[in-house]
């Protein structure tokens, strides 16, 4: 490591103030601080600081996504080739399909992040480490790479940098990418031919569970398959088991807020039970608890609704925010005629309302303070 440190230190002066490549300092620092925690000491405020930083938080989320990603890669192969193949064959097939998507997502996204950091003269933020991994996991595997690249550009530029960068965005950037692709390239984002790799060419039926239900057809996946994730769908969304492993890490580390996860499940359960009572079509009769296992519900609640930047910031707000996401996700899923899934829309919608929820939660605190003042004025 000494060699690496020495090399970095050797080139550092080139990027210092007044030096030749001063403008590119954010890019150099981005790489430097990824390799080494900087030698900066405190200069105001508390003299000692907690060992945690934003990099550690973001990397924890990336780690939590790894089980889901690995399973997703295997499942790409399994959905295309079916039984009778070795694990490595299936995984290898999936890897060839998936890792180019991941490379495009990180390459385009991080490239833009560095560019904006240089243009604005601020440090590179770590937010995209997570976003870059989320984007390919919520896309159908057959999405052409150039569409993915355009969606990433839209998400980073319009979804994030237009608002001021990481921490300032209103919507979850990964979902912005998905929503953009969904509306711009609808044929590649929905239907029964996109969820299994090459299904259009091979003529394999690749309908999702929700798609089958929406068409009033009987589903042929067992509950076990749905839980384990042996079903078609976006790359990362299918395995509830793997998502739960990720959730366990996020809750253990406290990185994801348990209030959002719990309340969103409660919201979905309430909506699901209402539909079960009405039971007007296949989507409504689908047992409420099975709604939690299929589609993007589990992935969305664990990895996207919990994004602290776009969620409600107050603890009370988080309860309301999570509950409504779960509630709306199932409602949109059942009522949306064109596309039988509502998780993306529900989260984006609540992203927009999160500041409003916080406003009312904080208003209660302000009111308490004002009441105290009035009491004293009377006395």
């Amino acid at each position: 490591m000494n060699f690496l440190r020495k090399t970095l230190d050797k080139y550092k002066p080139l990027f210092e103030k007044g030096a030749k490549y001063e403008k590119f300092a954010p890019a150099f620092n981005g790489i430097d601080t990824l390799m080494f925690v900087p030698n900066h000491t405190t200069h105001k405020g508390a003299h000692i600081r907690d060992a945690v930083d934003l990099k550690r938080i973001m990397i924890t989320v990336v780690l939590a996504l790894v089980p889901t990603m690995l399973f997703g890669v295997w499942n790409i192969g399994y959905q295309n080739m079916g039984e009778g193949h070795t694990f490595m064959e299936l995984f290898g097939y999936g890897a060839i399909r998936f890792f180019p998507m991941l490379a495009v997502s990180y390459g385009v996204g991080l490239g833009l992040e560095f560019l904006f950091a240089i243009l604005r003269g601020h440090e590179v933020n770590e937010g995209y480490l997570v976003t870059g991994m989320l984007i390919p996991l919520i896309m159908p595997i057959d999405l052409p790479l150039w569409m993915l690249a355009v969606a990433v550009v839209f998400a980073v530029v319009i979804g994030k940098e237009a608002f001021g960068g990481t921490g300032m965005n209103i919507l979850n950037p990964a979902l912005v990418a998905r929503a953009f692709a969904f509306f711009a390239y609808a044929p590649n984002m929905s239907g029964d031919k996109v969820w299994v790799a090459d299904s259009a060419i091979d003529g394999v039926s690749g309908e999702t569970v929700l798609g089958t239900l929406a068409a009033n057809n009987p589903i042929n996946s067992s509950v076990f398959d749905m839980f384990m994730g042996y079903i078609p769908g976006s790359v990362g969304e299918t395995s509830v088991l793997m998502i739960l492993i990720g959730l366990a890490l996020l809750l253990f580390t406290g990185v994801a807020n348990w209030r959002i996860v719990l309340s969103s499940v409660m919201g979905a359960a309430v909506m699901g039970l209402i539909f079960n009572a009405l039971a007007l079509n296949s989507l409504m009769t689908f047992p409420w608890w099975q709604h939690l296992l299929v589609g993007g519900f589990a992935f969305g609640m664990v990895f996207m609704a919990t994004d602290p930047v776009s969620a409600s910031q107050t603890n009370k707000g988080k309860w309301i925010y999570g509950f409504l996401i779960g509630f709306l996700a199932i409602m949109i899923r059942v009522f949306n005629g064109a596309y039988p899934e509502g998780v993306m829309m529900a989260i984006l919608l609540m992203n927009v309302f999160a500041p409003t929820i916080d406003h009312y939660v904080i208003a209660a605190n302000i009111k308490r303070r004002k009441k105290r003042l009035e009491k004293i004025k009377i006395a």
Partner: protein, 448 residues
Amino acid sequence: MSKDIRIKKGLDIKLKGKATENVVTVPSSGIFSIRPTDFHGVVPKLTVKVGDKVMAGDTLFYSKQNEAIKFSSPVSGEVLEITRGEKRKVLSIEIQASKDQSSKDFGKTLPTKTTREEVLEKLLSSGCWAFINQRPYDTLANPSDTPKAIFVSSFDTNPLAIDYGYALKERKEDFQTGIDVLNKLTKTVHLSLDANTSSFFDSIDNVELHKVTGIHPAGNVGIQISEIDPINQGEKVWTVNPQDVVTIGALFNTGNYNATRTVALVGSGVLSPSYIKVTSGQSIGSIVSGKLTDVENRIIEGSVLNGRVLLNDSYIGQQTNTISVIPEGREHRFMGWMPFVANGNHSASRTSFSWLFSKKEYEPNTNMNGEERAMVVTGDMEKVMPLDIYPMQLLKAILAGDIEKMENLGIYEVAPEDFSLIDYTSSSKVEAQDIIRQGLDIMIKEVG
């Protein structure tokens, strides 16, 4: 009447280098120094010039904003130098101490037998007024105000902080007199006690006692005020540190301004941490010489969470109680951001296993452990903020300069030290204390 207070939100940080219970004496430093910049917002007007002879208690300068507020010399001797900075701003006044110390006599008086005006006059003329702080705004108190209450916290829960019960155990009489003095200035004096230990503070009269349990910042007077009698818009309360109550008491008992104090010299940079008898304005070199480890250390006046840096050739201030010494942290750490790897570095976040070992005594250095970023993680500030306040929203309102929002969100109830744990735990490395100070200064300027 005694109310019990329990603080659940916060964080105790256990560090290596707690002071053992013995008091060490150190030789006097020859030169003493007073820094007007220690008193936030005070513009000094000098009353002495180089070569003047002064006694302990003689006025060195007064506040331009309020000429009644005077600041005194801690020792007798000769004014050696007056250091000025930009725009001739007075940075410090150095005094060469004389061999035989003499103090100005302000006269012995029983506070119970004096009027409020006489008490005020004595505090102001002796320079002891500088020990009385005001909230809101965390500044010096204004003698023309009558505060709704005065708060004294008898214990400090900051990491490695001084134990007042031990340091002041022989000064109970002076402390009681000091409390009687404060009673002349307001209706109620609140004294809060650490419910888990007993000390002479338990038997102090003429105060409303409050037993406090819980984790840091349980000892901070800010959280105690909010639990006992929160500050509303337009109200003022005063706070005085226990050691300063003793100095005020001694002024009335002996007639002299006695600037000697007992401080705790603590931290992993100190070879054998202990209590030390010092005089305000004494050079730090004379206090720590031969007592520190052989690495690059940072000397901090106050706690590691909210003290200020003392350079090696500088002098301690008038309100010092703890001197913390910890190593500087100028090392790069390879991939030090990996979760669950460097568990020897304390973290309140569960992305490191160190939270499982909260009893271990940690040895942190001054490394930032990361770089400043936009505020991303939510809910973490609330975990260490026992005040009924939304800390992140208040910080953002200050950064935006939105005065109405700051008022609404409770700027009058906070002081920078109340945000020191947020400085510490923030994963975005937010300089919360600095932002709060800015916010308070905006309020002083715009609202007053």
